[in-house]
């Protein structure tokens, strides 16, 4: 049973078709990257997946429990929305406890979970400060922690690292890796291919509301990345070769001796996207 099953879903805003017949299965325990440029339809898809928006057509099934528009079905899902969803005037601790109360956690459970998550998000020493005094990165971490109060099995993170300093970004990566270690299913939405490459078991490439490709990073690069660049430096100078099979070509180049240094540059997801759409991921 997949954690999230999206079938041929469509959503238009007026004349604009934001999601155009998208199908996708998220398997239990995997980290699925949802990679696409701004405006690709990622947030719209997430919103439909958790029942905030009704699709114009298609079907969504959450963990076999049914449609996410049923409030009870959403109980096992945690979402960190792209737009920060915390109360600026409340402290970090108050924010977490309030969101816990919405899920019917007992007062003891709220306290325990809030303590754990403040620690997890590296906010323990700022727990009593109002969220409005936080940096962008701290707010993002709190936004993520707030999605986890009720210990959801499926976690959807919509651009969790956007507008964040490098230190917080690393902290967020570590949080995601820890969650994966606990066996949670994670959908990680981003337009940064480095993040998808580093964190995700599989990546769904999406553009203009359509799913263009789906697979592990290696599979995607193998299928759509194009050739690797093999560079060999000798005393006489550098030699570069575009290669479909870098190992074989490198071995061939090495035969002529006097090699000082070799470099193999594999294509990235950036190249995958470029090859699939003719455009760059960065706009």
């Amino acid at each position: 049973m997949s954690a999230l099953d999206i079938r041929d879903v469509r959503k238009s805003f007026g004349a604009l078709c934001a999601v155009d017949g998208l199908s996708l299965k998220v398997e239990q325990g995997e980290v699925l990257g949802f990679l696409g440029p701004n405006g690709a339809g990622k947030t719209t898809t997430i919103s439909m997946a958790v029942g905030l928006l009704a699709p114009d057509a298609g079907e969504i099934n959450l963990g076999g429990a049914g449609s996410p528009t049923t409030p009870g079905v959403r109980r096992g899902v945690g979402v960190a929305p792209q737009s920060l969803a915390i109360y600026d005037e409340l402290t970090a601790d108050q924010n977490l406890r309030f969101f816990g109360s919405l899920y019917g956690l007992s007062s003891n459970d709220r306290k325990r979970r809030a303590d754990e998550l403040l620690e997890f998000a590296g906010l323990s020493d700022r727990r009593g400060d109002r969220a409005k005094t936080f940096s962008g990165g701290m707010k993002r971490r709190l936004n993520l922690a707030a999605a986890l109060m009720h210990e959801p099995q499926l976690i959807l993170l919509d651009e969790p690292s956007v507008g964040v300093d490098p230190q917080s970004r690393n902290a967020i990566f570590e949080m995601v890796e820890q969650l994966r270690g606990e066996g949670r299913t994670i959908v990680y939405t981003t337009h940064y291919m480095e993040e998808a490459q580093r964190l995700c078991d599989r990546v769904a490439v999406i553009d203009r509301g359509k799913l263009l490709a789906l697979g592990s990073v290696d599979e995607l690069i193998g299928a759509h990345g194009g050739q690797s660049l093999v560079t060999v430096r000798r005393a006489a100078g550098e030699e570069q070769v575009q290669s479909d099979d870098p190992a074989r070509d490198l071995a061939k180049l090495m035969q002529s001796g006097d090699v000082l240094e070799v470099r193999v540059e594999r294509p990235s997801l950036e190249a995958v996207f470029l090859n699939l759409t003719g455009r760059s991921l960065r706009d």
Binding site: L52, R74, V79, E89, L90, S101, L102, R130
Partner: protein
């Protein structure tokens, strides 16, 4: 219910952190109540002043039923300063004043006609006035107007020389019948009344007109009419020092506080939307009804807190003593419920906090304006269109309900109408607001 309570607690906590919001909900209304209390205390001390002349709506009861009293009532009915409605009984007239529909009631008590037979013997003819204590300016004007017509009535008797002679003869008769009058007084009055008959003869000869007498100071030494203040209610002295001006300014202050709370929570629903927290509320396993219920509960609690705070301060520091604490509690609950509905409607009229706040406050200020929260109702009610608006303004009914319990001495029956209107307006506004809310937030 637990979710509703946690959401309400969260909102109350947010309010406590919001200094500006607290100012508008608690401090500003208190300042308003104290400031206008002092202002109106100062104004009523210095007499009504000469404000714009509006015709005063009064109820009149003729308990005398003599020719003289009927003539006097007719004279008042013709007076352009007054808008008179006759009532058959004192109680009926009292009720319309209590309910704020008329500024005052005039009673022409039994004996008016008899006393009016003589201007010089015994007590002068008396009318009684019971005024709405919140309308001191009108009360002052009304007393002046009554004295004017009383004097006019006496003067017309003077120019009517036959009436004067009859008057003198009648007085002489009364005097002769009355054995208790001390002999010296009797003698003096007999001389005076005799000379009055002579005066009548001389006036006839000189052909003096009514104008001449009005322009002279004739009659200045007499009291042509006595205007007696009577309490509107049995339990207090009506217009006496007991009726604190703060009893009028505090209910208005409470309304401003409640409007502040309605605006604040209305805007906070918009803020939930613009700041993204609405998404989290909707993601949680709570219904839209619970989300709105949480807001409504927080608004309701704040509204009650405002009312209680102001009433306690009014009671302890400014001598505002409610006549019926029980009815006051009922009134406050109805007012709170009404403004929870208004809050709900305010929350859906703006897309951004700025527009919600702007439109919301504009709507509230209009409600307050036509409802008598700023300008006295007497001016509003002169314009039929505004009078109509005023009768649908929750502010008017809120003030009436609170005043009804604080000093108007409403019976439960009289409290019923304002409370039913408040609950009706509240329920209607809530239903409309909630419907629009659910439509915009629907998946």
């Amino acid at each position: 219910m637990k979710a509703v309570v946690s959401m309400a607690m969260k909102d109350l906590r947010l309010l406590l952190m919001d200094k500006g919001g607290l100012f508008f909900i608690f401090f500003f209304p208190l300042m308003y109540a104290i400031f206008f209390g002092y202002i109106s205390a100062a104004m009523s001390g210095g007499g009504g002043g000469d404000g714009p002349v509006a015709s005063i709506r009064v109820a009149i009861v003729d308990e005398d039923g003599t020719e003289a009293s009927q003539e006097f009532v007719a004279l008042l009915e013709d007076a352009e300063e007054l808008n008179i409605e006759r009532f058959d009984s004192r109680d009926a007239a009292k009720a319309v004043v209590q309910e704020g529909k008329r500024a005052a009631m005039i009673v022409v008590p039994a004996g008016f006609g008899e006393r009016g037979q003589s201007f010089f013997i015994g007590d002068p003819p008396t009318v009684q006035v019971a005024a709405d204590p919140s309308r001191t300016a009108e009360k002052g004007m009304l007393q002046g107007i009554l004295m004017k017509y009383g004097a006019q009535r006496m003067q017309s008797s003077f120019t009517d020389t036959k009436a004067m002679r009859d008057n003198a003869a009648q007085a002489m008769q009364t005097l002769n019948d009355d054995a208790d009058t001390p002999p010296m007084v009797r003698l003096a009055l007999q001389g005076f009344l005799g000379s009055l008959s002579q005066l009548a003869d001389q006036l006839d000869e000189a052909n003096v007109t009514e104008e001449d007498i009005q322009n002279s100071d004739a009659g200045a030494g007499f009291e042509p009419l006595k205007v007696e203040s009577i309490p509107l209610l049995e339990s207090n002295d009506g217009d006496g020092p007991e009726m604190s001006p703060f009893a009028i300014s505090f209910p208005q202050g409470i309304i401003w506080g409640i409007m502040g709370a309605a605006a604040g929570f209305g805007i906070s629903l918009v803020t939930e939307r613009t700041h993204g927290t609405m998404i989290r509320l909707r993601l949680a396993p709570v219904t839209q009804g619970q989300i709105l219920g949480g807001k409504a509960l927080a608004c309701f609690v704040t509204t009650i807190a405002v009312a209680v705070t102001l009433l306690v301060i009014g009671r302890l520091a400014f001598g505002v003593t409610p006549q019926s604490p029980l009815l006051l509690a009922v009134a406050i609950v109805c007012v709170a419920a009404c403004f929870v509905g208004v809050m709900m409607l305010l929350s859906v009229i703006g897309r951004t906090e700025a527009s919600a706040s702007g439109i919301g406050w504009a709507a509230l200020v209009v409600m307050a304006m036509v409802g008598g929260g700023m300008i006295p109702l007497m001016f509003i009610e002169k314009i039929p269109f505004l009078a109509m608006l005023s009768s649908v303004s929750p502010v008017k009914w809120s003030i009436l309900a609170i005043e009804g319990a604080v000093w108007r001495g409403f019976t439960p029956g009289q409290m019923l109408l304002p409370c039913v209107v408040l609950l009706g307006v509240g329920a209607g506004a809530f239903a409309l607001g909630a419907t629009i809310f659910c439509r915009t937030e629907r998946a």
